[in-house]
């Protein structure tokens, strides 16, 4: 178990501007966590700090597993724009498994099972870069699925997809949740937050303004910033 993840007084500046924090929070196993906030609130940055793609400039990001490589092995991240290697759909999943140290024949078996999970098994031999945007995002999810992560970070995974593709992606995210993977997802789609989330972390200008169960957050936000965001009456838009 690498959860719970603890952030202590984490901050990050870019270009002389404090873009995150100082911020402390704990991410525990269980409820699907949605990170909400306007563009520039620091959602993507916060997830990159959690996932270890960026080191915090102050403070500490601590998993229960002290070895960073082993902690990383139990996390996966799906980005807004999926990056596929110039190989077949199947080979993209096999690559992730190979890096994770899964030997054949288990590697191919796991990869095929993951493609089946996201409904891409019929496209296994196609070049990954020839897939549509929605299919590529499902492949990114298959790649994560094959790794059986304890935590899955999703950075606005449906931001550039049409409603049909979005529904397909959301179905896979629900399957992760049902399989016991901790979901941490950034979005600015309020409907998606309601559909997939159990709790909301609301960021405003890099600070954690509010954290609440989904129903409570949308029904009765405690902070004026969150209330304004929900109403779509953000002062800076």
């Amino acid at each position: 178990m690498i959860l719970p993840l603890e952030l202590h007084d984490v901050s990050f500046s870019a270009g002389g501007r404090q873009v995150i924090g100082p911020l402390s929070l704990q991410i525990a196993a269980g409820p699907a966590t949605i990170i909400l906030g306007a563009n520039g609130a620091g959602k993507s940055l916060l997830m990159r700090l959690m996932h270890g793609l960026l080191p915090p400039q102050t403070g500490r990001v601590a998993w229960q597993e002290p070895d960073p490589r082993r902690a990383r092995r139990l996390q996966a991240m799906v980005f807004q724009r999926p990056i596929m290697l110039r190989r077949s759909v199947l080979a993209n999943v096999q690559y992730a498994l190979k890096v994770a140290g899964i030997a054949e024949p288990g590697r191919t078996r796991e990869a095929l099972a993951a493609l089946h999970e996201v409904g891409l098994n019929s496209l296994a031999s196609q070049p990954a870069r020839a897939l549509s945007g929605g299919e590529q995002q499902r492949l990114a999810l298959a790649r994560a699925w094959a790794l059986h992560p304890e935590v899955l970070f999703l950075d606005e995974p449906t931001a550039s997809l049409d409603p049909t593709a979005t529904r397909e992606i959301e179905a896979v995210i629900r399957a992760f949740d049902a399989a016991g993977t901790k979901i941490v997802m950034a979005t600015h789609n309020l409907g998606q937050a309601r559909r997939l989330g159990d709790e909301v972390i609301f960021l405003h200008r890099g600070r954690l303004v509010e954290r609440a169960p989904v129903e409570q957050f949308f029904a009765a936000p405690r902070s004026s910033e969150a209330a304004a965001f929900i109403k779509g009456e953000l002062p800076w838009i």
Partner: protein, 225 residues
């Protein structure tokens, strides 16, 4: 003296063509084997002095062939540090000189290509736990068809240069005489048909290799996206 179209049936001419290809293709192969990983490491790695190394590498693409020839000559000459190898005035010496000429091209063009791709791949690969040598090799393999440009640039430089192979090879008839050195020699001797014939063959070969490379690239890009 030769007459122009007739010279193309000349066995000696095709021996010269064969040696040219053997020397230049060997040099390209060695320079790519060394230069591509070097360029990839430079693209992905972060260490002090990296920028200086990148600038130096880019500058070395313009190395004058005669200077490389001179340095290799000094190294391989009987009194030089590598004189015991007995390589001076052999095709081996010509391969060494051309490898030195092409290596910066291979490494610099590869560095640029991998660096551009790395910007796209970095987060995804690091998320999967890929770093260091494996990351460099993964990107290198993924952009392998773009690297064809580096191979062709290297091949162009090798097959076209005369200064380095002239100095370290000595342009010895039947041993180290290649297309460019023969063209230079026959032109100065006044045997223009042979020089012209070789010039046409040289250009035709370079054109054919580039066309083949482009065909391969287009085929695999359709296949792998």
């Amino acid at each position: 003296m030769h007459n122009f179209p007739g010279v193309l049936g000349d066995a000696e001419l095709w021996r010269i063509v064969g040696l040219s290809l053997q020397v230049s293709l060997s040099a390209v192969a060695i320079a790519m084997a060394l230069g591509l990983p070097l360029g990839a490491a430079l693209a992905v790695g972060r260490f002090p002095g990296r920028t200086a190394l990148v600038v130096a590498l880019n500058a070395l693409m313009g190395l004058p062939p005669v200077v490389v020839g001179l340095v290799v000559y000094l190294l391989l000459s009987r009194a030089g540090p590598l004189g015991d190898l007995g390589l001076l005035f052999t095709p081996g010496a010509m391969v060494i000189a051309q490898t030195i000429l092409i290596l910066p091209i291979a490494a610099a063009l590869c560095r640029q290509a991998v660096e551009d791709a790395w910007r796209e791949y970095e987060e995804q690969l690091r998320s999967l736990g890929v770093d260091g040598v494996r990351a460099a090799l993964t990107v290198l393999w993924d952009i392998r068809f773009s690297l064809l440009t580096a191979v062709l640039a290297g091949l162009g430089r090798a097959s076209a240069e005369v200064g380095a192979v002239m100095i370290v090879g000595g342009n010895i008839d039947g041993v180290t005489r290649v297309m460019t050195t023969t063209i230079a020699l026959e032109t100065s001797k006044g045997d223009l048909p042979l020089a012209l014939g070789l010039g046409i063959v040289l250009i035709a070969i370079v054109l054919a290799l580039n066309a083949a490379a482009q065909g391969v690239k287009e085929f695999v890009q359709r296949r792998f996206g």
